[in-house]
Symmetry: C2
Subunit: 201 residues, 2 copies
Amino acid sequence: MEQITDNSTKSRILDEALVMFAENGYKGTNLRDLAARLGLSKSALYKHYESKEAIWNALLDRMEVYYGDRFGSAENMPKTPKSCDELFHLTMNMIDFTVHDERIILTRKLLLTEQFHDERVCRLATKHFLAGTQRMFTTLFRAMMAEGIMKKDDPEMLAFLYTSPVTSLIQLCTREPERQEEVMGQIEMFVKYFIDTYVEV
Amino acid sequence: MEQITDNSTKSRILDEALVMFAENGYKGTNLRDLAARLGLSKSALYKHYESKEAIWNALLDRMEVYYGDRFGSAENMPKTPKSCDELFHLTMNMIDFTVHDERIILTRKLLLTEQFHDERVCRLATKHFLAGTQRMFTTLFRAMMAEGIMKKDDPEMLAFLYTSPVTSLIQLCTREPERQEEVMGQIEMFVKYFIDTYVEV
DNA sequence: AATAAAGGTGACCAAACGGTCACCTTTTGC
DNA sequence: GCAAAAGGTGACCGTTTGGTCACCTTTATT
């Protein structure tokens, strides 16, 4: 109940904080600009959070919840693809989303720029860039191998071989958005090559 | 001639600037601490560089020269490996160096944390994390294929498939140095897997 | 020996920063 | 209808920041 107006401003602050922290880093972000962008005075921020660090921590809390939902639990697993084509489309859809969704782009930037300055960011970065997707595709590949849709091999190794090059290219996309089209082409080529080599029975 | 003392202090400033910029970012670095670490007063810095930004730019200049030497030119290519074993050792030596050399670790941190805030860093990051090593191994693989040491395939694709997972794991090593041993094991496993699959004739 | 250039110092400055405070206005619960 | 809580404001504070300046000391040059 009490949350309605409170929550709206409180979460608007976090929304804008994500933008600014991602774009300018923690140190590079100042509360005056943050408040101005929200049409607030700086002191108003302190009605919702007790310090700059508190805003930062609340933002990380929210990110952790989000990533817990997306990668942590077994419930959010996509359906096991029934063919190479389905795997291809599943993969490309996930990549498309990850490359274009504004919030995820900002999150990725924040993780990259602050990974050495904050322990939680460090953990989240590993989850985001490596462990999370690898784990998911390990499960997927294992299921596909069991169903005979995919050649039998080490599912963990293949998941790593599949996800980490894509992650590299997505980072490139984030760094040089003007090359997005070109890089998306490379991603597609790689995904096709991988499926041809390792999945096609 | 005039360079001797000048150059020494001037380059000591850059050495320490690399450490601080890498550890705390551009914004997070202040000239008082930088001077103090060198046993100088802050105003002494201004006898060598006209501003903080000038130090930053001089550091990037030096990095660009270094990377030009290492990856840019054809002269610095390692000898083409004559066997799987040689490729394995060449690769592992390069990775070992990259993971343990303090200067390269700091450079990697700097590239990651500042890639979105500076155009030159952005370009260098792509060179370091992607294009540089990929290009090198493309040449290597092409030569090995021509000599019949390696199965014929798309050398560019294979170089990408080889280098980008390693880059991901090296970044993990940089982010979580306490897991270095474990991650080095993973790297070795991956490299062996790759060579078994794609090189072994 | 005299001079000037290079290297170094500490005091100082204006601007920007995170944070606080007294005060005002709107919502809300009873 | 009214008190209190929640939301919002502008002036202010101490600290830190990049940068300057007048002055000193060492090193080269002639």
